[in-house]
């Protein structure tokens, strides 16, 4: 579903001012705003990371490791989060106020555009301009949204309709609850199954108590517990009085 393209073409940016009058009429005015520079740099970062990831996957398929890929995904994801928070930042010029108007639309390939878009878009023609410059939803989607909004009952909806709706909600809840129950029983089954195939024990709680009793209270030592006064290597001997409570 396409809306009619604007035949005349020009690209204007900002509140007034013609963006470009280059030969193709397709040069965007280079964004001078530092905020946009920031966006551009983070976008190119993301692009670099994605291509690095792709390269990694393609060139070293043998050394692929899932944690490494996850790491890279995480980096990309955090960069995207940063980018979207930058977009929401108040200090950025409000991009919604930026107007872009196509001046010239031609079916001929345009090398400048191709260079700027890194080969993704070769022409500024009637087919892709509406898609790239669209600011509203597709009319079909829009119509469906409107239809959905219209279905929301107005305050003076007859009681009968409301009752019907309540009933439907209850039915839906019932179905959802049954589903949840089913999932839970399935999960319990799974848990008990895995619990049955239990792993060999790794520790013995009795041993913990035994060992702790040994190190804290000196209990459970197998045999000879000495209470004699110990002599230690490198210990000054014979220069002190009788030991208290620990006769030598």
């Amino acid at each position: 579903m396409q809306r009619p393209a604007v035949p005349a073409a020009a690209l204007t940016t900002g509140p007034g001012g013609i963006a470009s009058n280059g030969p193709g009429g397709t040069n965007l005015r280079p964004p001078a705003d530092p905020g946009i520079e920031l966006l551009l740099s983070s976008i190119s970062n993301i692009k670099a990371n994605i291509s690095a990831l792709l390269q990694y996957i393609e060139t070293q398929p043998d050394s692929l490791s899932w944690p490494a890929i996850l790491d890279r995904f995480n980096v990309i994801m955090s960069q995207i989060v940063v980018l979207s928070s930058q977009m929401k930042n108040d200090r950025l010029p409000d991009l919604r106020k930026l107007t872009v108007v196509p001046f010239l639309v031609s079916p001929d390939p345009d090398s400048t555009v191709e260079r700027i878009t890194e080969g993704r878009m070769a022409t500024v023609n009637h087919e892709n301009v509406p898609n790239y410059l669209r600011t509203k939803l597709d009319p079909e989607v829009e119509n469906r949204f409107e239809a959905a909004y219209l279905r929301i009952p107005l305050p003076n909806t007859p009681a009968e309709t409301l009752q019907k709706q309540d009933k439907q909600i209850q039915n839906l809840n019932k179905v959802v609850n049954t589903l949840i129950e089913q999932f839970q029983t399935a999960q319990n089954d799974w848990d008990s199954k895995t619990a049955k195939a239990k792993l060999p024990p790794t520790s013995d709680p009795n041993d913990t108590i035994l060992l702790l009793a040994a190190v804290t209270a000196g209990k459970n030592f197998p045999s000879q517990m000495q209470h004699g006064g110990p002599k230690f290597p490198g210990f000054p001997q014979g220069n002190s009085g009788p030991q208290i409570g620990a006769p030598r």
Binding site: P200, P201, T202, S203, D204, P205, D207, T208, I209, L210, L211, L212, A213, A214, V215, T216, A217, G218, K219, N220, F221, P222, S223, Q224, M225, Q226, H227, G228, G229, P230, K231, F232, P233, G234, F235, P236, S240, G241, P242, Q243, I244, G245, A246
Partner: protein
């Protein structure tokens, strides 16, 4: 700063130790050590073996008796003896971590004589713990086996005797210096214990559960 020095400088305010204890069967100790190596990384000192000789002393002329212990390494002769005092359990029973006051100081070899002859402490028992120690941030983990410490005829040297149990004692602890209780030290310990849960169940030390 070296942690031991730090302990020494903070002596005026008792340090708090947060600890959890557990044990692991001999057959699983390799798994546990492997897991610990993975969790703690390959910093120098991680996974190093230790063999320490502990002697517990008590001063019975007061009630309750004061219990202290000394520790020394049997592997390294250059490290000093340590004097350790653990306070009584401070945490409420609903806390999940053992919290105790701890005084841990480096001493000369004279400390046993000083305790016994100078201060009137009585030696209660001694044991040797052999195992491996790890550290992750401020959490210290030790996995070791407890042995008796029989002496040879002259009584001068100590060697590890029979093991007390087939299991290895696992201790996960951290120390909050100088009563600095703002830092959630117990969370570090709990978090680490969670990561070992599948192998060893770490619990707080409850003296009441010890057999009488």
């Amino acid at each position: 700063m070296d942690p031991l020095l730090k302990i020494a400088t903070f002596n005026s305010i008792p340090n708090q130790e947060y600890a959890l204890y557990g044990s692991v069967l001999e057959s699983q100790v390799d798994t546990l050590l492997h897991r610990l190596k993975g969790l703690c990384g390959t910093l120098p000192g991680n996974g190093d073996p230790f063999e320490d000789h502990y002697i517990s002393y008590s001063f019975k002329h007061v009630s309750p008796p004061i219990v202290v212990r000394t520790a020394r390494s049997l592997i390294q002769n250059v490290v000093p003896w340590k004097f350790q005092y653990y306070g009584t359990e401070q945490s409420d029973s609903n806390r999940s971590v053992t919290q105790r006051q701890i005084i841990d100081a480096c001493c000369s070899v004279k400390i046993p004589t000083f305790l016994q002859e100078g201060l009137g402490f009585q030696m209660d028992f001694e044991y040797i713990m052999k195992g491996y120690s790890f550290a992750k941030n401020r959490v210290k983990i030790s996995v070791g086996r407890v042995y008796t410490a029989p002496r040879d005829a002259s009584g001068s040297s100590v060697l590890a005797g029979e093991p007390v149990s087939g299991s290895y004692l696992v201790e996960v602890s951290t120390v909050a210096f100088g009563g600095n209780t703002d830092e959630p030290s117990d969370k570090d310990v709990i978090q680490f214990a969670e990561q070992l849960k599948s192998i060893v169940k770490l619990e707080r030390f409850d003296p009441k559960r010890l057999p009488a």
